[in-house]
């Protein structure tokens, strides 16, 4: 089950459509990192609204993804974590430290706009 990656201006949007196996997740990570380079994207949104479980592997892969993209100079935001999933994650000690999160796609876009515009218009602010 491949995750479709949408290019929207300077951003890439990956909307997960169904439960993912570990291999799918790693494939998503690699594809996003590659596409950020190809399209010189400034921001990435990963929409996990449909995920009903986020275990240690998924959290770690997402965190790695965010850090790898950061090394490419782009910002990532994870959107759509469900209340129950968040509750289970923190019980497991998975807090996605250092990873930006937002409520949904709309909020994620607003976050990226804020982050990336700031970077361009006033580098001293960053």
């Amino acid at each position: 089950m491949q995750v479709p990656i949408l290019k929207q201006g300077a951003y890439l949007i990956a909307s997960i459509q169904s439960a993912l196996s570990d291999a799918d997740l790693m494939q998503l990570r690699d594809a996003l990192v590659a596409k950020v380079s190809t399209f010189r994207s400034r921001g990435v949104i990963v929409d996990v609204t449909v995920l009903d479980v986020m275990d240690s592997f998924a959290s770690r892969t997402l965190r790695d993804l965010v850090h790898m993209i950061q090394l490419r100079g782009a910002t990532t935001v994870i959107v759509g974590i469900q209340p129950e999933v968040a509750f289970a994650m923190v019980q497991l000690g998975l807090t996605l430290e250092g990873v930006a999160t937002a409520l949904d796609l709309e909020e994620g876009l607003a976050y990226l706009d804020l982050k990336t515009i700031k970077k361009v218009s006033n580098p001293r602010d960053g």
Binding site: A19, D55, Q82, E84, F87, A88, M89
Partner: protein
């Protein structure tokens, strides 16, 4: 039929196991939050099987001798076993989500937690959650 067995060999089996677990929890009337906690615990247990024992099975069963009913998840493998259980229960916990055993995390998701493991004899983890 009170028991479901799911063989765990490849990573897709992890998804299958947690989906059956969630379906069973929902069928028994567990809240959405509890069903998610159960599914997450199963995911971690199944993952441990693949990581440390290569293969094994997840067994789901129902406890309904009396109200409230409960769900039992047993993770069984014939892997190398754990030599230092105390350490496993301590070391696994990691706020950064690194690849620990995650066993203390699992015990926090569930109401009851029991582990039986000896080097060379495999590992059996049994966890329970009661319907509130």
């Amino acid at each position: 039929m009170d028991e479901t067995r799911i063989a765990i060999r490849v990573d897709m089996d992890v998804v299958a196991a947690r989906q059956s677990g969630r379906a069973l929890a929902v069928e028994l009337g567990f809240s959405n939050t509890d069903a998610t906690l159960i599914a997450t615990a199963i995911s971690e247990l199944a993952r441990n099987i693949i990581l440390y024992a290569k293969e094994g099975e997840i067994i789901l069963s129902v406890l309904h001798k009396s109200e409230p009913c409960g769900i039992v998840v047993t993770a069984r493998d014939k892997g190398p076993g754990i030599s230092n259980l105390e350490q496993a229960m301590r070391l696994g916990y990691s706020t950064s989500g690194s690849l620990g055993m995650g066993l203390p995390g699992v015990s926090r998701l569930m109401d009851e937690f029991k582990i039986d493991s000896r080097p060379g004899n495999g590992t059996i983890v049994t966890v329970k959650k009661w319907k509130r």
